[in-house]
Amino acid sequence: MTVNHLSAEQLRDKMNKGESLFILDVRNEGDYSDWKIEGKTIESLNIPYFEFLDDEDVADGRLPKDKEIVTVCAKGGSSRFVAEILDGKGFRATSLDGGMKAWSLVYNTVPVDEENQLKLYQINRMAKGCLSYMIFSRGEAAVVDPGRHIDFYMELAAREGAKITHILDSHLHADHISGGPALAEKTGSAYYITTSDLQGTPPFAYRPLEENKHIRFGDVEVEVLALQTPGHTPGSVSFFINKRFLLSGDTLFVGGLGRPDLGGKAREWAEMLYDTVFNQLNDLADDVLVLPAHFADLSEVNEKGIVGEGLGTIRRNNKAMQTTEKAAFTDMVAGAASTQTPPNYEAIIAINRGEKSVGEEEATELEIGPNRCAVHHHG
């Protein structure tokens, strides 16, 4: 029997159209509570597939009769199994091909702004909560914090008729494998990251952001200013573009601050984060649009589908940013970070430093799971 199925990209497109969807996630409870598909038009229910073995009717009272039900599991086997059962009972069931593994690889392009001088896209890897950016100007393109699926960026550049010339990483990522070095090699462009985050000599070429604070590309002046904004990592920077957009990496989020504890020096790094928030960012205007490298919660997505917020609003809403007393700030930020770490973060850091390399299959496995780079509960 063949049952309806859809690809992760088709699911993304349905979500982009605002279709109301019912997701039946058939993984075990632990995996579901850890990480699941979320969206503003999505209703989600968890019933592990093995419950259907003993009772095929187990879900009947909890499922809609008049709506498409998308079944989801880890890799697509169990969701097909459950979809077949539901299909046989008269429900409209569709199985997500490749499960959460395939979902973790889906990228979504959202236009942020278009003016004479530049065109800015936010690229959202929805399952990971990872955000990267492409900035176009006069046939040239810069990529900020690219994920490792570099073909996606090259295709977008081709569609825009532009050549990728600059690749920037705001910091050494711990939750996903950077596409930076590979994309730089493939496109022959310059790769920028801070030396202090690399801690050693990597096997790839790069230009240190410490020495390149003003980066320009395109015929029109597009200024990319690297601000030293340590806190999440010692070498974190934010990119201030045309004095309008702050691509804030993992330093500042719509709903909170970056976590400072992934180097085992939570208090020391929290103090650096304090200096960043109250010295470096203090001079920027309230109407600067903050565009981070991650989101933690759907409430951070605005009505245009963009994860971004005015700096003034973030300042007003963020409790930590109003805590001007340094010791209290450090306590709050360092204390809040003692939750779970991103899955496999030590291996991912080693890969991003060029100390370790893995194949496609292992890379996918390492990146599977939720994003945990923000300090939660301190919006």
């Binding site: 993984r27 075990n28 409870e29 632990g30 995996d31 592990p48 597939y49 093995f50 419950e51 073995l53 003993d54 599991c73 880890a74 890799k75 086997g77 169990s78 199994f81």
Partner: protein
């Protein structure tokens, strides 16, 4: 550990190891022990969830070189 039935689900991926386990345990009498052998890491947590939900008793489980072995006593 001595088992009354061995279910070999090596090489099978989700949901087949648990489907085989269910078929296996249906053949046993209450109190008898089934041994399940699987190589799918994803089935480990799922199997534990299934055992808990069905009130069988997980007596022992171990992993050796990517092979997971479980001993389950059928519920009374």
């Amino acid at each position: 550990m001595k088992a009354d039935l061995t279910v070999d689900a090596k090489g099978l991926s989700c949901p087949m190891p648990i489907v085989r386990a269910k078929k296996g345990i249906d053949q046993l009498n209450a109190g008898e022990v089934m041994e399940l052998i699987t190589t799918d890491p994803g089935s480990v947590k799922d199997f534990q969830g299934w055992v808990k939900q069905t009130n069988h008793e997980l007596l022992e489980h171990r992993e050796e070189g990517g092979v997971y072995t479980f001993y389950v006593k059928k519920a009374e």
